[in-house]
């Protein structure tokens, strides 16, 4: 050590180190952003792209007297249909909905589905379709000479409207979306009042004693319980023990289709239990944020506790409670595992009719399509993921709008 420099601090070296690490930190951040981009890109990649479609019957051959299929009137369309499918199937369609009540468009759809019966023989990802269209076209022409190449958006109007199907060409997410909405509604109907009530109790009533401390700690811990555990609990309680209620037998609603308690009601209550701790914690935060001067003013006028809570605390906490609840619900909408455990049905083609119907939900649909070995179902899963993300985006946007509107009205 030199005598005139007691501190050999090597400042340039320290600064260099600082710069190196700054780069490291930035790279970490970039990796996170890239991961998000990859996630989104991957969904888009599966949701759009070329498909090779091969018709069982060329629609041109179905023209009657030179009039193309699209322009035929309803009666002729029915004749075409009759000529091409079995009498049994025809009778079933008549039974489902008499032809007299169907319009020409519906009959046309039936012909497309049953007679023309387009089949996806190959499909390409968005990336391939955009960067390598020429090769895609060449491969398609060589390997599937009969088929025509279409650029397809797997997320389309038909996809949103159509029920589940084992044919990827006509499969849709309607039953799944309706199932999701049903289960979520039941979850909210159960968890919102109970959760807000519990939060009010803990913030406004509970004296600081052992039992209330236990309740508080317990809620914190419940929020960290893996969701699949709630599924197991729901299976044991709602599906098995309370099966008579959750299948509606106890209310005289006996539907042979409901499989012993594996219903929308069970699913909704299970999700309700799952989001309950989240709603409580969020509502507690919102209630805590209400200034105590308001409470004092109210008590000072001779208001009781409940009058204070109902007239002042809750209205002022409501925006926060709503936002917190919507965030909790967004979590519930994406939940899959607990619903699989309580026994979501694998294949449902009819719309759910009420709380006692069997159910499937959007995330379960995504799971099942992803798990199928045929790659065409991965595209369907991509489209369904887009629908799910769209649903979540709508909900979060609603939360933000709600919060802003409530703030302004105050």
């Amino acid at each position: 050590m030199s005598t005139n420099n007691l501190h050999s601090s090597n400042l340039p070296g320290r600064h260099r180190l600082g710069r190196v690490w700054l780069v490291v930190f930035q790279v970490a951040l970039v990796v996170g952003v890239v991961a998000l981009c990859a996630l989104l890109f991957n969904i888009l990649n599966g949701s759009f792209g070329y498909v090779a479609v091969q018709d069982k019957v060329n629609p041109a051959t179905l023209a009657v007297d030179g009039v193309p299929l699209e322009e035929l009137d309803k009666d002729t369309l029915i004749q075409v249909l009759q000529a091409n499918i079995s009498a049994g199937l025809m009778a079933r369609y008549e039974f489902d909905k008499p032809f007299a009540e169907r319009d020409a468009g519906e009959v046309y759809d039936l012909i497309l589905e049953r007679v023309v019966a387009p089949e996806f023989v190959a499909q390409w990802s968005l990336y391939e379709s955009l960067t390598n269209a020429g090769e895609v076209r060449a491969t398609a022409a060589q390997e599937y000479p009969e088929a025509r190449l279409e650029f397809r958006s797997w997320l389309n109007w038909h996809f949103l409207r159509a029920p589940q199907s084992s044919y990827p060409e006509i499969a849709g997410v309607r039953t799944a979306v309706l199932g999701s909405l049903w289960t979520i509604s039941i979850a909210v109907l159960f968890a919102f009042p109970v959760g807000v009530a519990a939060a009010v109790y803990l913030q406004e009533y509970a004296p600081d004693n052992l039992i209330n401390r236990i309740i508080q700690t317990n809620i914190t811990n419940l929020a960290g319980v893996p969701s699949i555990i709630y599924g197991i609990l729901g299976l044991a309680i709602f599906v098995r023990a309370l099966g008579a209620f959750t299948s509606g037998i106890a209310f005289g609603v006996t539907d042979p289709a409901t499989a012993n308690g594996r219903t929308i009601l069970s699913a909704g209550l299970t999700l309700g239990m799952l989001v309950l701790p989240l709603i409580i914690i969020n509502a507690q935060e919102a209630i805590k944020a209400v200034p105590s001067s308001l409470r004092q003013a109210s008590y000072g006028l001779g208001a009781t506790r409940w009058e204070t809570v109902w007239h002042h605390v809750l209205p002022n906490a409501m925006a926060g409670i709503m936002t917190g609840t919507i965030l909790a619900i967004s979590r519930a909408i994406g939940e899959t595992a607990p619903l699989i455990v309580i026994g979501a049905s694998t294949f449902i083609q009819v719309d759910p009719e009420g709380p006692f119907s069997k159910f499937t939900t959007l995330p379960i649909q995504i799971y099942q399509w992803t798990a199928r070995p045929q790659s065409v179902f991965r595209n369907l899963a991509g489209g369904a993921s887009l629908v799910l993300l769209g649903l979540l985006l709508t909900m979060n946007a609603t939360a933000i709008i709600l919060r802003n509107r409530y703030r302004r009205s105050q």
Binding site: L294, R295, Q296, A297, S298, G302, A303, H311, H312, Q410
Partner: protein, 267 residues
Amino acid sequence: MSDTAQATASLNGAAILSKDLSIYYGDFQAVRDVNLDIQTNRITAIIGPSGCGKSTVLRAFNRMNELIPSVNTKGEVLFRGENIYAPDVDPVEVRRRIGMVFQKPNPFPKSVYENVAWGARINGHKGNLDELVHSSLKAAALWDEVKDKLDQSGLSLSGGQQQRLCIARTIAVRPDIILMDEPCSALDPIATLRIEELMRDLAKEFTIIIVTHNMQQAARVSDRTAFFSLSEDGKRAGMLMEYGDTKTMFTRPEKKITEDYITGRFG
């Protein structure tokens, strides 16, 4: 008023009085053995250095301290001959009769009208609400300023107006006693003056207890003054040092410590 008069007669003209009142925050004794009798239809000022327990005593008069979980109150507070700390007394009933105006104006985030009407409504007011709002706002000397904005939020008023709104809100419940904790400390001199005038008016109808840091204010508005200070035994508990007629207190204080405080020679 005969009813009230009768009740107060038994207490030597005292609207409310405390007997050996001690108040603790957990283990800490904030106030020790306070004996204070407040005269009916008079304005009583409570003065004293910061932290000597003025607010604590004031809030003990309508059991507001109970909203703080750690508070423990010993002794009695007699209101119309009844100890308000008796186990069978309902604090809500107490606060209906003994209202409170706070240091910072705290109107509800509701309309001006609702601010005044709400307390009366929950207390089962049967008469005409519009009339009550009108008379209360008038009594609080606010009517002319807000008569066109009854639908606007109470928060849209100025600070001084907000504080008068809080006073209107309190008198709409028709309490016997109004407690005011530094009601002018957040206001400018002109707004302060208006509230002081208002207090003199209200004293015809109500018994008023006001905590203030402002010597002139105490001298201007109050009939009687209570001086609190910290005990000198190192425990720093608030104690009532001197209590009496305001004029006497400000001209010929009995104790040296009172004189020091009033003349500003106090720490």
